[in-house]
Symmetry: C2
Subunit: 311 residues, 2 copies
């Protein structure tokens, strides 16, 4: 089976936080927001919108744009989240199964990962579908950090936005999945952590980790694909912040021109940033290949090479 | 690749709750405990033992009993839990990676599932390893319900114990994984749920679900393996309680004699019950095959046929 990505859609809740005003509260000016954060607004879900609602709306948007996708054909549903519905038990994927009306013989589970979650999730669902003989799967990212944000914390409150994405995984894909590599360093677990209901981040440690780790990691997975940094049509990197994307682009030298930088006016949406980039940039492009890399909570990172199979 | 189960070990924390005394508090006698619950004691972790500690100790016990397993050969670590370390961010598998000293190029993620988690987890890690070309993986179950137990709730406090298991997944297995089937009904999500820090269960609904769903589900997966209920050497069912195991055995008629019933004096250990049964009963048996079925939180269920490859 050649299982890959057939279509991607997203849902961005309509609430917005003014990041310029937030920054002013911390004595940071507009130039700081544009240069360091990368977005003047952040998306935020409604108080009554649950993680499963974001996920269900992303699936609805996927159905709307992909008429050939039928819910009754779905065999597996995987939700990547660390901020699921309620208190996390039951798993959010079961609630989504019911909300969108999937068959009851669908396999559903959540994968707990942060910013590396989409890259991991692609290969988790691909492998699961292949071993089970499934033909159609949905990979959802939905990790609304507004649930765990302390609006008094200058390190984190300017960065994160809420969004969900839904990716149709199946045969005859537009984007085939090539080599991938993953990594984990629990020694850095404390640098991104929820305590007493609020998310805490050691920004310097996370920046150092990402800026040292990610380019060599992409290089190694590209080598496995018989490619080099020079031969990549696009770099779809996790949009942690404007400054980290800029730092990685700089490390790539001239190749950095092919780094996509776009926080979409909504901020760092955790595991949704890479599928958002793909949705908006990859499908309508002339790219023959792309490399993606997600990194963050864990610490955890994953890089993969995707190649175009058809227009 | 023929990836399957090579070895299983477990860790049961030393703390014990006297279930007879607990039951007396609710005006239930010893006969009720033996007949309905199925265990006179429950295991409970120490106050300072985290989920990752249970997991790490299970891995240590796996290393002790399996000299040919080397941690440096491990490529993937999956932790099945809905009660991970701290507040669930970061994922527990990253913390375990650090505690047991795995390489940093190991792929780690948590799967959020309850009592169906071991069956799902087997096929999730198998598929992931096959698609990634990995040779050795660890599947861990560690879901300490003592974290979410309300000791004033007569419906739940008599049932659950703490435990963790570690399963070595790789080539040349003792137990090969045959057909599997999975299911999800989020319409029943409310029957097993955490609210305000405590676990709530509608025992009647869960009993009805399991007693109607599981035997036909096993029959369907056995048919896919070319087997019938008559030709199964052993039934390794989730040990939800004495009464549900008895009810399923009764539904199986004469075949019910081959249902393994053992709560090990520790109670319902969620996703750990089936690997505990396998560890204690399957490896030293003359069984040529077994069927397993896990069911619970979600609602979610999974059944699989395993066949012996070697002694």
């Amino acid at each position: 089976m050649n299982i890959g990505i057939k279509s991607i859609a997203s849902y961005i809740p309509s609430g917005r936080i003014n990041n310029i005003a937030q920054a002013a509260y911390f004595d940071r000016d507009e130039a700081f927001v544009h240069a360091k954060i990368g977005t003047a607004t952040l998306s935020v879900k409604g108080a009554n919108e649950e993680t499963s609602d974001l996920a269900a709306q992303a699936v609805q948007n996927l159905l709307d744009k992909t008429p050939e996708l039928r819910l009754e054909d779905i065999d597996a549903l995987v939700v990547v989240t660390q901020n699921g519905d309620g208190e996390g038990l039951p798993h959010t994927s079961a609630i989504v199964q019911h909300k969108i009306g999937l068959r009851s013989d669908v396999a559903c589970f959540d994968v707990s990962l942060g910013c590396s979650g989409f890259v991991y999730g692609l290969y988790v669902i691909k492998g699961f579908m292949e071993t089970m003989g499934y033909r159609n799967g949905l990979l959802i990212t939905a990790d609304p950090y507004s649930k765990i944000m302390n609006r008094q914390d200058r390190v984190t409150t300017l960065l994160f936005g809420d969004a969900a994405t839904a990716t149709w995984i199946g045969e005859d894909p537009v984007w085939a999945m090539g080599p991938a590599r993953f990594g984990t360093d629990g020694g850095g677990a404390e640098h991104l952590v929820v305590k007493d209901g609020h998310f805490h981040m050691n920004g310097r440690q996370v920046f150092n980790f990402a800026s040292h780790k990610i380019v060599p990691h992409m290089e190694s997975v590209l080598a496995e694909a018989g490619l080099s940094l020079d031969s990549v049509d696009a770099y779809c990197l996790h949009q942690g912040s404007g400054v980290i994307v800029d730092a990685l682009a700089k490390k790539l030298g001239e190749n950095g021109e092919r780094v996509i930088k776009d926080l979409f006016g909504i901020g760092n949406t955790v595991s949704s940033t890479i599928p958002l980039l793909m949705e908006r940039y990859a499908f309508n492009s002339d790219w023959k290949n792309l490399v993606m890399s997600g990194f963050g909570v864990g610490l955890s990172w994953g890089s993969a090479v995707l190649t175009r199979q058809r227009p």
